[in-house]
């Protein structure tokens, strides 16, 4: 049985949920899980105060967090293996500096999804994040490797100072995307006006994106066949960096035609 933490009480302040990762909780019994401390505003709370715990003691490297977790930041931050499924909305910095494993959010995510900690240059270095809803600003900021996939839209500034890796938003990437992007890929399922530091290259069916979209479908997002086999416009940038990054924009008009 998978370790499941179901939110029981709304926390009084924002909670740092970074300790709630499978590699840390695996094998702990229920009382040990209940005793794990979480920063809650200026106070310290324990898991048992906030969550109902079931399935403790499992060796399975998986964790389910259920409930409205918009007050919980850093969910899955720095995780390196295993899987977290969030059934509900997550706060900011979900999957920040993650290096492996999978974080699936059945709901929305706040700002800086899969991003770098404040002041850090490098964000996510591996693993996969899939969000069925929308994500906030600066998703994938500082990302070096890995996948951030969003079923809805991302806020402004996705892929800020990205080094490499991929951010996909099926419902569309927000404005000012890919500022300072070196080698990263941003893919937008909806029309988007790229920054002036991006230049139009061509329209094609990107084979690597197709493979990634199939993976995103496996992770539980609704990827239409039109997205899989349609044409995407490639814009290269950021010209202020290497111009080796890309923004891929789905050609919706072709779909209609």
């Amino acid at each position: 049985m998978t370790l499941t933490l179901t939110l029981r009480a709304e926390p009084q302040a924002r909670v740092d949920a970074a300790p709630l990762i499978p590699e840390r909780l695996r094998g702990l019994n229920a009382s040990a899980v209940a005793a794990v401390e979480l920063r809650c505003g200026r106070e310290t709370a324990v898991v048992g105060d906030l969550f109902d715990i079931s399935g403790a003691g499992t060796e399975e490297e998986a964790l389910v967090l259920a409930g409205d977790l918009r007050q919980f930041d850093w969910i899955g931050a720095r995780m390196s293996s295993g899987e977290i499924v969030v059934q509900g909305d997550a706060g900011s910095w979900a999957g920040a500096e993650m290096s492996g494993g999978a974080l699936r959010i059945v709901g929305g995510a706040g700002a800086r999804l899969g991003a770098a900690y404040p002041g850090a240059r490098v964000g996510m270095t591996g693993g996969e994040i899939a969000v069925t809803g929308d994500a906030g600003e600066e998703a994938g900021a500082g990302m070096r490797r890995g996948l951030v996939a969003v079923g809805g839209r991302t806020g402004n500034g996705a892929g800020l100072r990205m080094l490499a890796g991929t951010v996909i938003a099926l419902g569309g990437i927000g404005g000012e995307a890919g500022l300072g992007n070196k080698r990263g890929s941003l893919a937008s399922g909806r029309a988007l006006e790229p920054l002036p530091s991006y230049a139009y290259a061509s329209r094609f069916s990107p084979p690597a994106l197709r493979l990634q979209l199939l993976r995103v479908r496996e992770l539980g997002l609704m990827v239409t066949d039109a997205l899989l086999s349609g044409s995407w416009s490639r814009w290269s940038g950021d010209v202020t960096e290497l111009s080796r990054g890309e923004i891929l924009i789905f050609d919706e008009n072709e779909e209609a035609a």
């Binding site: 890929s185 990107p206 084979p207 690597a208 990634q212 199939l214 899989l228």
Partner: protein
């Protein structure tokens, strides 16, 4: 030699002798079945025998869209060589010249998770002249090589497995048309998962022996003992009475079992299709690690 009969077919009491080989499987996908097949045919061309072609390769089977990594129609190709280094060199040459060049294709490792690997995209990427880019997707690395059409996507490396090369059946009949029809039926029955038949249509009409009577430097020469036209000219002919033509089917497989079962299918299909005689080629049993006695293939598949 006393063998056994399958209907009207005489089966010799002998064995096929086979060798350990290394192999890789690549999955070629394309926008259509047709282009995947073009690439696969080109990649497996001139790959009949390690003696002359440095590798043996053949189409393993066609793959439905649902079976391929990118959800497009595909073909699985098996390539065999004597060692991992050989597999690595040949796979880079052939994918580079025959798959990358072919419109709409992508090329994937067909043995994911294998313990040993050989570089593929890791080497081919240099064709991208610095403009190549890589992506890690679901734990596997791929290279995107910009080309005139768009991008060629190729797996960083391919798994290399331990296979068996040189399994064979020799199928004969009094009439050359019947012998060929029987060989065709046998080849058709043998194809499938884990099996490569590297010769044209799976069939070789110029089976060889090791070395030559007239030269010390030739690695191989015609199997004169099985050449029906020489029957009256040599003392040691092995062409059975009443046999006018013989064809050999050479089988490379991913395991001993795959080869044995393919031989079993081929033997019974060939017998049903009119072969009067079935035998197998060996080197006296001293060279090859794997022996496949025809006596073990008596039960139908």
């Amino acid at each position: 030699m006393s063998g056994y009969r399958l209907g009207d077919t005489e089966v010799d009491d002998t064995f096929a002798e086979a060798f350990p080989m290394r192999y890789a499987r690549v999955v070629i996908t394309a926008a259509t079945d047709g282009w995947a097949l073009e690439a696969a045919r080109s990649m497996t061309g001139f790959a009949t025998s390690v003696i002359g072609c440095k590798c043996e390769a053949s189409i393993e089977r066609a793959l439905a869209s649902a079976e391929t990594p990118d959800g497009r129609p595909g073909i699985a190709v098996l390539l065999f060589a004597m060692d991992r280094e050989g597999v690595g060199k040949r796979i880079v040459e052939r994918v580079g010249q025959s798959v990358m060049t072919c419109p709409t294709t992508a090329c994937f490792d067909g043995l994911p998770g294998a313990e040993k690997t050989a570089a593929l995209g890791q080497t081919l990427r240099y064709f991208g002249d610095g403009f190549q880019a890589s992506k890690v997707i679901a734990g596997a690395r791929y290279w995107r090589i910009p080309v005139m059409e768009g991008e060629f996507l190729v797996s960083e490396s391919v798994g290399v497995g331990n296979g068996v090369g040189g399994g064979n059946l020799v199928i004969g009949a009094d009439d050359d048309d019947i012998a060929l029809a029987a060989a065709e039926a046998a080849a058709e029955a043998m194809r499938g998962q884990g099996i490569a038949l590297p010769f044209p249509g799976g069939i070789v009409r110029s089976g060889s022996k090791v070395g030559a009577l007239t030269s010390k430097s030739m690695p191989a020469s015609t199997n004169h003992q099985l050449a029906p036209t020489l029957r009256a000219q040599i003392d040691d002919t092995l062409v059975p009475d009443g046999v006018g033509a013989l064809f050999e089917i050479v089988i490379d497989g991913v395991s001993e079992d795959a080869v044995r079962e393919a031989m079993r299918r081929g033997l019974h299909a060939g017998a049903s299709a009119g072969a009067t005689h079935v035998t197998a080629a060996n080197f006296g049993g001293k060279l090859g690690q794997f022996h496949f006695p025809l006596s073990e293939l008596r039960d139908p598949p």
